[in-house]
Amino acid sequence: MSSDEKPADAAAAPRSLAEALRARDDAGLAALLRSRPDLITPVPTDLTQLATRAATRASVVRALERLDRFALQTAQALAVAGDPASYGELLGLMAGHAGDQAVESALPRALGTLRTQALVWGGDDRLRLVRTARELLAPTPQRPSPTGLGPTVKEATAGMSPGRIQEILTAAGLPTTHDSVSAVAALTGLFTDRERLDALLAALPADSRQALERLAWGPPYGQVTADPAPHLRLLLDRGLLLPTAPGTVVLPREVALHLRGGRAHRTPEPVPPAVTAARTHRPDVVDATAAGQAYTALATVEELLKDWDEGGPAVLRAGGLSVRDLKRTAVALDVPEPVAAFWVELAYAAGLVASDGEADERYAATPAYDEWLEQPAADRWSRLAQAWLAATRTPGLAGGRDAKGRALSALGPGLDRSAAPEVRHRVLTLLAGLPQGAAPDPESVLARLRWERPLRERDQGDEDLRTRLARWTLSEAELLGVTGRGALSAHGRALLGAPQPPRPAVEPSGPGDKLPVHHHWTPPPPVPSPAERAAAAEKAARLLAPLLPEPLDHVLLQADLTAVAPGPLQRPLAEMLDVLADVESKGGATVYRFTPASVRRALDAGRTAADLHAFLAEYSRTPVPQPLAYLIDDVARRHGHLRVGAASSYVRCDDEALLNEILADRRSAPLGLRRLAPTVLAAQADPAALLEGLRAMGYAPAAESAAGDVVITRADSHRTPPRTPPEPVPQGPPVPDDTLLSAAIRAIRAGDLAATAPRRPAGTPQAPGELPRTSSAETLATLQAAVLTGQAVWIGYVNADGAASQRVLAPVRVEGGFVTGYDHTADEVRTYPLHRITGVAELEED
């Protein structure tokens, strides 16, 4: 056991967290800042400020949430121990009187974690839990501690009459004292003396002891009637139960600990639950399965974007994909909707699909998609996998609702969860910890994650986010081919990057070091840098490449008008077949069916029957079956037999010579005439223009109705399509309602106040118009005072661009380096970082 704040001797022991931090070396401070990155945003000016910030409630809560279960249990134990507590006392609380080898060996590590994170400071003889943490973790009636311990004798007797305390002393067999303080001390002394307390308990009747046992593991509170039963009365008399409120008694912490054999936790969990392998497959089977799935992933993304090629689904006004479009996509991909959401999100995360940003907004493939298509399969996969690992978007949420009951849609807003990459990485790292080919029991992975972050379990009802993220990670990894049959594949392992290099030794040496490396508390940024990621992805691609099936250059044609591609096809071949035949079945192979419609499609695409015959003969490994050749010829025979075109009008004349004449006339060129039959000309010009043109050329054409009658032309009345009458437009803007009026007045007054409020300098006197300047300590003090008094103050503020402004602020909360308050200048509640506040001045009182 050692500490990172190495006191030279007892006399130099730190008296505060700031001093303890000051005594740390750079590595120690770096470890702190790495583990609690919120402490350096913004960068504190000095260690005092760092210590203050490290003790703020928000920051401590965040740090506690990141503790593993045993470190948290240790912190909880410290919260119920004396302040300061010695290492021995802590060990007693954790391991109990009987001792526990596992706890003893794990405790130095847990304590080291707490120290690194500046939650605990002081030497082994004087361990102090940061006050805020103690407040958070110590049991109170409102918030029982997970330890199930109640208040100490001292706390529980705080409001008790001195006379009553002396009575308890007498009943417990202690001499009376002069004052309550010494009486409480004497009682505490009795309860912490194991032998004397044993004797006291032994003298009690069995039912009294049972009543105590019931409360021993918590909750420590019990209900009693106004006239308690005799066996309870005995306990109350001796102070073994102390009243907290009428009808409620509590078991004092000291007594509970004695009954528990000294242990603060019923089940200390010093060792993380192991991730167990449910099944073990041969590593090559795992790799091959994963590679097969990786190939499917590529094919699916390609299919998705092909499906969206000619205009994807519309973007909802709130962003994202409508439920109907997702359903349609799921049907097209032949997968369940959540899986479809995953593929869509994956393509989005990899930058292959995005909104086109047009007025009529739709999703479409990005130019990056075309580049991606050109890459070798393994590289394409590694790009997807990399995007997946780093994405904060969680497709698993799609289809659900957010806290406000709004539907969450795939590709829509509200799907980002910042914990996702970390959980993904952690889950895969745990998988990597298993031997090759071992598929974990998912529950053991989840149990391990819960051990590592126990505090997040607090969410009631549904599973907490981390657990859900972990479940999604397992299923998504399988879909993507990172895992195969549940086990991490070789390329998946490579994708994860090499095993983390050991961190500089900021962790305590001692018994804890004998644990395997991954049992150590690992600093939180498990997401590697982009460069590392790229290198890892490249390595993964190299491993994957030989496992992916080689594209084939042939198909097998069969007489039942199907073609089977016994593997993935080379792109040009696949593209042609997609046009020429319908896909019937997908997977490792593809089954195509030729139908008259599909052949017609190919002919429409500009192929000729001869092309198709040549194509089939070239790529078929078997002779082209006669029915197929016949089908193509049969469809081709009729294809294009009927021709369809657009014309605006026609000229009909029984005299072919006259039509010849018109066609030959140069003046007829603008009419766009074309001969369809000896007696018919089609024109691009509309009938009116045609009539006019022909008349201008000196002919006397007559108009024909649709039925072929000659139309008697008369000027026709012109009408618009149906229209609604115009809405009346009222004069001037609408009359504002009361809410709007009052808000406007308030804003005006606030601006006025900011501009005119005379200021009373708090620090150095200053010229009007200048920013108030005070030292940071003064600023903090003034703001905190303002919170208490509820007064508005005048602050100088420099924003991120360096622009200075003066604002009138009524602070509500000063916390974590930020001040939150009602900004009269802006007329809304705002939060300002303290370090950007140049100074504070009180407002001149009226």
């Binding site: 994963a290 499917t296 016994p566 997908k586």
Partner: protein, 550 residues
Amino acid sequence: MLRVNGPLIVQSDKTLLLEVDHPQADDCRRAIAPFAELERAPEHIHTYRVTPLGLWNARAAGHDAEQVVDALVQYSRYPVPHALLVDVAETMDRYGRLTLVKHPAHGLVLTTTDRPVLEEVLKSKRIKPLVGARIDADTVAVHPSERGQIKQVLLKLGWPAEDLAGYVDGEAHPIELREDGWALRPYQKQAVENFWHGGSGVVVLPCGAGKTLVGAGSMARAKSTTLILVTNTVSARQWKHELVKRTSLTEDEIGEYSGTKKEIRPVTIATYQVLTTKRKGIYPHLELFDSRDWGLIVYDEVHLLPAPVFKFTADLQARRRLGLTATLVREDGRESDVFSLIGPKRFDAPWKEIEAQGYIAPADCVEVRVNLTDSERLAYATAEAEEKYRFCSTTETKRKVTEAIVRRFAGQQILVIGQYIDQLDELGEHLNAPVIKGETTNAQREKLFDAFRNGEINVLVVSKVANFSIDLPEATVAIQVSGTFGSRQEEAQRLGRVLRPKADGHQAHFYSVVARDTIDQDFAAHRQRFLAEQGYAYRIMDADELLTES
């Protein structure tokens, strides 16, 4: 790089593609046959489908999920999708959670090894009327008469029950096969064995492969009174004839129960028609099922089983049931009812395999496309929708083509099969051949068939009455001029007419005459699908080609 170059490709839609030319193809076929249904068997790649029915079938036959997964993984060319393996295991796990057993005190009961499953199915509205009192937490009584019904419903709910309640032996009656100069073919033996082992079920064999003998073989195994249900009287007579010839049964032991005769003997052959005759809202001939303690019920041409017979069959679950068919394709999609009421498929042999073994004749299938004349085209275009098919399938040109084909095969036994009586009469007139249609009396039919068999008549024109179960051993050419729209099984049955092995081993010919560019062609394509999937490749010919040739 492929790790294993296996013959099987497992698709994500649960179809299995088997490359037949692969050296391991036969081993693979044997490994997957127990659980995968052969869906298509064209020349290079056979398609199997893994269905829940197939998987449960395999479970019923004693295979477990591990074997299925092993077979897939062992022969697969590419990694098998994990999801599919999981799905296989989960599906197979559903079978046998519920069992139907005989309880010594409560009669037929449904028990479970997994209580929540029982709770789940008992909540179903369709199960409620079928079960009786709850005997204990894991057992519930079932009305014995609802044995078939409950099996059917449980299957639909996805929790198929294992039926261990056994069969009644029925009234014993000695039946032996008389194998003098002939013997059951290996696949027939296999079919009988599979059926007997499974208790009840369906045997699928191509037309002409000797399904009647499978029936006879099964009767010889059962050695009990047997009720045989057939499609029509002619077929009934042929069964009788065949049974007398092949087994120890005598004429007197076999009764015919049809429109004309109502004999009930130890072995009774009844027609579907008489059973489904309804008088005053009831089926008066239903009592036939209860008239004797039948030990075996044989359903011939089970794909034609009429709906009312399904209902009766549901009540016969305690008796062994054998279904026989060439094509378990029902145009009404009630294959799953066949599975749950008659029983699962116990034996299936691809047509081409039997052909390769020489038990059915190789066939040359030709689709002859005729053009409508210009005036016919105009008339076709203006015909009412319901008249269109009739119009184009009875085009004048078909007659010429038919005559040409008949000329070409002059001297051989030729069947001309069609749908429309007018057309057939006209053809009969031109070909100078007798016509058998619905109104032809049974006596007359038998007479004509005999004449045809003896070679006195070379050409016979038949309507769809002759679709099934007429034994015309020497027909070598069949010409189909029209059909029942797109019926796949009709096409297969008609091809079956010429598949009986020929004495001289020569090829059979099957001509389908189709009017080009009309719905006749669309229906023909649909009709041919089953056979094309069985590996019968249709050649397409132009009528002109054929007319100029001859």
